[in-house]
C-alpha cells in the first residue's frame, strides 16, 4: 500500500527542452494535488515520470508504505492507476470485454467490476462495442476501471474533460471517497477539481 509519494528536486527533459527542474512534492495518504499550468508546461510529463514511463533527468520519485520505502517498479505495478489522454480501449471489442480485462489486469474481482460499472452508470452499455460509445461514455468506462480495482495512487490526466455535469459531480464524489479511504490523487487539470486539495502550478 502506497501511503506517501515523495518527489525530490525532480528535473524533466523532453527533447532538447528542460520542462522543469528542482520540483519537490510530498503527497501523503488522503491528499490530492492538482497540477495546473499552460499547455506544454509539463503536467502530463510529470504524471508519466511518476508512472515510470519517462526517466527523470535528475531527482527521484519515491513511494513509501507504512513500513518504509517501496521498490518503485513493484509499487507502480501493484498500487498505481494511470489515466492518460488515450484510454487503451479497443474499438472493436465490447465494453464488457474491455472493462473486465483491464479491471482484472489491475487486480479486480468480477463482482467488483460489475459494481463499479453500476456506480458509473455504464452497466447498460456493457454489451455495446466500444466504437459505439460517446467520448463521455468511454471516459466513464475507464473511470469504472479505477474503482473496480482498488489501488492507492491515482495519476489522472484531465480526468473530467469529456464528462457532463452530472458525471463530473459523481466522479468528484468518487475521488472524495478515495481520499477518505486513504488514497492519493495526483491530477493534471485546467479547471479546479471538485474535491479540492492543494495546487501545484507549473510554468513554462
Amino acid at each position: 500500500m502506497i501511503r506517501r509519494l515523495v518527489l525530490q528536486s525532480l528535473g524533466v527533459q523532453r527533447g532538447e527542452r528542460i520542462l522543469f527542474e528542482g520540483l519537490n512534492l510530498d503527497l501523503a495518504a488522503g491528499e490530492a494535488v492538482t497540477l495546473t499550468g499552460p499547455n506544454g508546461a509539463g503536467k502530463t510529463s510529470l504524471l508519466r515520470v511518476v508512472a515510470g514511463f519517462i526517466a527523470p533527468l535528475r531527482g527521484s520519485v519515491c513511494f513509501e508504505a507504512a513500513t518504509g520505502a517501496l521498490e518503485p517498479g513493484e509499487a507502480r505495478r501493484a498500487d498505481c492507476h494511470f489515466l492518460g489522454h488515450q484510454d487503451g480501449l479497443k474499438a472493436a471489442r465490447t465494453a464488457r470485454d474491455e472493462l473486465v480485462f483491464w479491471a482484472r489486469w489491475t487486480g479486480s474481482s468480477p463482482a467488483g467490476t460489475i459494481a463499479a460499472a453500476e456506480r458509473l452508470g455504464v452497466d447498460r452499455l456493457l454489451d455495446l462495442e466500444v466504437r459505439q460509445l460517446s467520448a463521455g461514455q468511454r471516459r466513464r468506462l475507464v473511470l469504472a476501471r479505477l474503482i473496480a480495482a482498488p489501488r492507492s495512487l491515482w495519476l489522472l490526466d484531465e480526468p473530467l474533460s469529456p464528462l457532463d455535469g452530472a458525471s463530473r459531480g459523481l466522479f468528484g464524489e468518487i475521488m472524495a471517497a478515495h481520499l477518505e479511504a486513504g488514497g492519493l490523487i495526483l491530477a493534471a487539470a485546467h479547471d479546479p477539481l471538485p474535491m479540492g486539495g492543494r495546487e501545484l502550478a507549473l510554468r513554462r
Binding site: F53, I54, Q86
Partner: protein, 221 residues
C-alpha cells in the same frame, strides 16, 4: 499465472479479430500457391521441383504479413501504458503476445502449408515434416518478428524498418527448414535441419522478449 492466461486469452481474441489476422495469412498462402503455376508454367515436373521451396517461402511471407501491428495498436491507443502498470513485466507481456500470434496465425499456417506444398506437387509423405517445420519456423518468426515490431514502434515508416530488421534474422530458419524438407524429399538425412530450426526457435523465444521489453519502454518514454 492467472495474469498470463488472462493476457493470452485477450491477445488470442485480438489476433482473431485483427485485420491482418489468420484468415488473411491463410488467404495469402493460398494466393501465392495458386499464382505460382501461372507464373512459372503448369508443367508438373517443373512445379514439383520448386514445390517445397515455394510453399516454404510463401509461408514465411504470410507469417511476416501479420506481424507489423503486433505492438503498434496497443501503443497507439494507450493500452501499452496500462499493460505496463499490470502484474507482468514487459518481457512477459511481449512473450505472451508473440505466443498468441504463433497460436492464432502460425498454427493455421502450419496446417495449410502441407496442403499448399502437395498441391504444387510435393510428395505426400513429406506432409508431416512440412507441418513440423512450419510450426517450428512459425515460432521463430513470431518471436523474431515481435522483436522487430517492438523496435519499430514510435518510428515513422515502421513497416519498412520491421522488414529490414526481421528479414536478416529470418534467413537462418528459412535455410534450416528448407534444407530439412529438401533433404527428406531427396532421401537424405533431414534431422539436422529440423534440429537446428528448433534450436533457433527456442533461442528466439528465450532472447527476444528482452529486446521487446526494452523497445516498449523506450517507445513509452
Amino acid at each position: 499465472m492467472t495474469a498470463l492466461v488472462l493476457l493470452l486469452r485477450r491477445e488470442l481474441t485480438l489476433a482473431w479479430g485483427r485485420g491482418g489476422g489468420p484468415m488473411l495469412a491463410l488467404a495469402f498462402l493460398a494466393a501465392a500457391t495458386a499464382a505460382l503455376p501461372l507464373a512459372i508454367g503448369p508443367s508438373p515436373a517443373r512445379l514439383a521441383a520448386v514445390a517445397v521451396g515455394a510453399a516454404w517461402v510463401s509461408l514465411v511471407l504470410a507469417t511476416l504479413l501479420s506481424l507489423d501491428r503486433l505492438f503498434e495498436r496497443d501503443f497507439e491507443d494507450g493500452a501499452l501504458e496500462l499493460l505496463a502498470l499490470g502484474p507482468l513485466p514487459f518481457e512477459a507481456v511481449g512473450a505472451v503476445k508473440c505466443a498468441a500470434q504463433w497460436i492464432a496465425t502460425g498454427a493455421p499456417l502450419a496446417l495449410g502449408s502441407p496442403i499448399a506444398a502437395i498441391a504444387l506437387g510435393a510428395p505426400l509423405r513429406a506432409a508431416p515434416l512440412i507441418a513440423a517445420v512450419a510450426l517450428a519456423g512459425g515460432l521463430a518468426f513470431a518471436f523474431v518478428g515481435g522483436a522487430g515490431a517492438a523496435v519499430a514502434l514510435a518510428s515513422r515508416r515502421g513497416g519498412v524498418l520491421i522488414a529490414v530488421i526481421v528479414l536478416p534474422l529470418a534467413v537462418p530458419p528459412i535455410i534450416f527448414g528448407g534444407a530439412s524438407i529438401w533433404a527428406f524429399t531427396a532421401g537424405l538425412p533431414w534431422e539436422t535441419g529440423l534440429a537446428l530450426l528448433g534450436a533457433y526457435a527456442l533461442a528466439a523465444v528465450a532472447l527476444t522478449p528482452f529486446a521487446m521489453a526494452a523497445a516498449c519502454r523506450n517507445a513509452l518514454s
